[in-house]
């Protein structure tokens, strides 16, 4: 029994830390509230869609910034999409970098865009790894017979 309690405590603490450190904001909490017995994998499903979306968009952004002549409108369109989906799942830091990135696009600032791309890739890889850890910990609790309560 102690094992489950321990795991659950670690999960709660880890979850809280993600909010504390600004990786996640209230929107993630909103999504957690939408999960129940009838939809037990809702959060993982949405976040997985976000990962797929982000991977694709970061690819597009890298390609677009590698062109000899940069299409800032196209660039901005991709950043707008990433900004939207990161906001929808509560990936706060990614969302914030996207806002700066859009400004760089508007200003047609190549240096700024390159920097923002590095930043967004960094923030994305951080939140991705943190969320994967969170989901792994949830699985451990469930496997040990505990419940993941919201």
């Amino acid at each position: 029994m102690d094992g489950i309690v321990q795991l659950q405590r670690q999960l709660v603490d880890y979850n809280a830390s993600l909010f504390h450190e600004g990786f996640l904001d209230d929107q993630f909490n909103q999504l957690q509230q939408l999960q129940d017995e009838s939809n037990p994998d809702f959060v993982v499903e949405v976040v997985t869609l976000f990962f797929e979306d982000a991977d694709r968009l970061l690819n597009e952004l890298t390609k677009a910034l590698g062109q000899p002549s940069i299409d800032f409108k196209r660039l901005d369109a991709h950043v707008h999409q990433l900004k939207g989906s990161s906001s929808s799942i509560g990936a706060q830091r990614v969302h914030r970098v996207c806002i700066s990135f859009r400004n760089s696009c508007e200003e047609q600032n190549v240096e700024g865009c390159l920097k923002n791309l590095q930043q967004v890739k960094h923030e994305y890889s951080l939140v991705k790894s943190k969320l994967e850890t969170l989901f792994r910990m949830e699985q451990q609790v469930l496997a040990a017979g505990g419940s993941v309560s919201r």
């Binding site: 809702f42 499903e45 906001s87």
Partner: protein, 218 residues
Amino acid sequence: MDSNSVVSWPRLPENMDSFGLTQEHSEEVHVLAVDDSLVDRKVIERLLKILACKVTAVDSGLRALQLLGLLDEQKMPSETIVGLKVDLIITDYCMPEMTGYDLLKKIKESSTFKETPVVIMSSENVMPRIDRCLEEGAEDFIVKPVKLSDVKRLKDYMTTREVKGESQDREGNNYKRKLIDTSDVSPSSPPCISSSTLPSSPSLVDSTIRRLKMTSTE
């Protein structure tokens, strides 16, 4: 347009709670959700299903029009899916090819769906944009990211509308009230007043009249 025309809303039973969970006898509320983002479609679908709505989610304005039988190539009434009932359309504003605003216009121009409430969602909290959508007949405007409380509000006023008929009480519509209180009315385009957009709040009536007077003296 006849202001006393019958609006067919789903008949909701008296014993239905605010979550619509006790709907056994009446039809489910059917919502058409339009958003090019897969993540957002997934979220809005879940939010609406929690409120016991039937949801059809599409990824573009064109697909929405196709479903509603409103594409130019579908001008014949027989093209519309027989018995298609859509009680609410909720659409993203920023979409490639056709924006939510363009979709709103097409819906309001149609004879079949102009009475259907249309709600716009956008990540950008831009007053002129919101104003423009509301002027065009949008029922409400939700700033993304969409939360359960946003969607609950929609369900609330749909029920209200059904019960109260044409003399709608818009008091429950917090966002719109805020807009009425703070918006600075300027004459943008010729006013397009139809009974479906008749305002009930005095301040909006005044501003509309002001707009009418300004354009008539030009």
